[in-house]
Subunit: 222 residues, 2 copies
C-alpha cells in the first residue's frame, strides 16, 4: 500500500488534508509538532483526528522553537491580534513551514512514503510567506536534492490539495468525505478543553468559512 506522511496541526485544514490523502488510497503516517505553541489543545485535536481517520501511526515531534521566539504563537509576551491588520502578522512563526516540512521529509524517508501532504493555502493564507505556491515549489526542489530517496531517483512529492481552495470549499470537501470538524481546533488561543475564542484571525476565517459553505459550524466556543 502506498504511504504518505500527513502534517497535522489539529486544525480544520490539515484534518481535511488527511481525509483527502486517505481518500486517495494512501496509508497515512501523521506528524504533529510540539513547538511551544500557546495552546496545547491543538495537539490533543491532532491525535484525535489521526485516530478518527484511521492513520497507521501518529508522532508528536518536540521542537524547542520557543527558544527562538519572535511570534505571538510561541511567545506569551506578544498579544494575539483580534482585528486582522495589514502585512505579515505577529502570529507568523519564523520559518515554521520550512521546519515542519523538513521533519516530515525525514519521516517520509524513514517510512518509505512517496508523498507529504500539507494543508497550506494561498487564498486564506493570512499573509504568511511560507504558504505560497512558489515556496512549495522551492521546497520540492530542495527535497529532491536533500534526501537519499531523491539521490536514488525516488522523488518525495509535496502535495498541497488545499492550495487554491477557499475556506468554504475546503469545508465542503471535508464534509463530502465525512470528516467531523467538531474534532478540530483552529483557535490561536483555545482553552485547555479546546474551546475557541471566536475572535482571533483564525477563528474569524473559520467561522466565515462555515457560513459561506452553508454548513453548520460544529466549533465548541468558549
Amino acid at each position: 500500500m502506498k504511504k504518505a506522511v500527513v502534517l497535522l496541526s489539529g486544525g480544520l485544514d490539515s484534518a481535511t488534508c488527511l481525509a483527502i490523502a486517505r481518500d486517495q488510497g494512501y496509508q497515512c503516517h501523521t506528524i504533529a509538532f510540539d513547538y511551544g505553541q500557546r495552546t496545547r489543545s491543538e495537539l490533543d485535536a491532532a491525535a484525535r483526528v489521526s485516530e478518527a481517520l484511521g492513520a497507521a501511526s501518529h508522532r508528536v515531534i518536540e521542537l524547542g522553537m520557543g527558544n527562538i521566539g519572535g511570534s505571538a504563537l510561541t511567545d506569551h509576551n506578544i498579544e494575539v491580534p483580534e482585528d486582522g491588520g495589514e502585512g505579515i502578522p505577529v502570529t507568523y512563526v519564523p520559518a515554521r513551514n520550512t521546519v515542519f516540512l523538513s521533519l516530515a521529509l525525514g519521516l517520509a524517508e524513514v517510512t518509505g512514503a512517496e508523498a507529504i501532504y500539507i494543508g497550506v493555502n494561498a487564498v486564506d493564507y493570512s499573509g504568511y510567506p511560507d504558504c505560497r505556491p512558489a515556496f512549495i515549489e522551492a521546497f520540492q526542489t530542495l527535497a529532491n536534492l536533500a534526501t537519499k530517496a531523491g539521490v536514488e531517483g525516488n522523488t518525495i512529492r509535496i502535495e498541497t490539495p488545499l492550495m487554491h481552495l477557499s475556506k468554504a470549499q475546503i469545508i465542503q470537501q471535508g464534509e463530502g468525505l465525512g470528516l467531523d470538524y467538531g474534532l478540530t481546533v483552529s483557535c490561536y488561543q483555545a482553552d485547555a478543553e479546546g474551546r475557541a475564542c471566536g475572535r482571533c484571525d483564525s477563528c474569524r476565517l473559520r467561522k466565515q468559512g462555515f457560513a459561506d459553505a452553508l454548513v453548520k459550524d460544529p466549533t465548541n466556543y468558549q
Copy 2:
C-alpha cells in the same frame, strides 16, 4: 554590528566556521541541536566553543528526531560503522541539514541576522546528500521565499566557507585564526568526557586531516 547565525555541532568543521564568521566581522549567535544524538558530549563541546570564541548568544534547540529514527546517530539499535563503506552511510540522519538550516533561518529572522554559517563540505562529505553545493543553492532559493525578510527584499545569505576545502585545509585555516581544536569533539561515539573512539568514520577523517595538515592532533582519545 552585522549579525550572523552560526550552526555549531561541537565538531571541528563548525568551530572553524564560527572562527571564520567572527574574523569576517560578524556578531555571532550560535545554535546547536539536541536531536537525540548518541553522544551528548558534542553539545558540551558546542557550548565550550561558543564561549571560547565570544559568541553573543548560544541556544540549544530540542528536536525530537529520535521519534523519526532511521540513523545510527539517533537510533541506538543501529551500529556505528568503523570501516568506511560505499554509498550513503547509516550515520546519515534523514533531512538533518534541512531541519537545522530551517531552524537557523527562523533564528536569523528573529535576531535580524544577514547570514547563516554552516560547515558543510563537498570534499570530505561522507556521502551525505545534504552537504552538496546544489543542496545549499536550493536552500538559498527557499530561504528567499520562506521568510518575512526575504519577502521584504532582505536576503539571508547561506555561507559555506568550508565547502571546497579539504579537512587539512580546514584545520590550517582554523589554526591560523587561533582556534583550539582540543575544545571540539567529532567522534560519532565519544564517551561522556568527550574522548574520541579513534575508529569511526568521523574520527578517521579528522585524524588524517591533522596528519595531512602537519598540525599536532589535540584530540583526546579514549
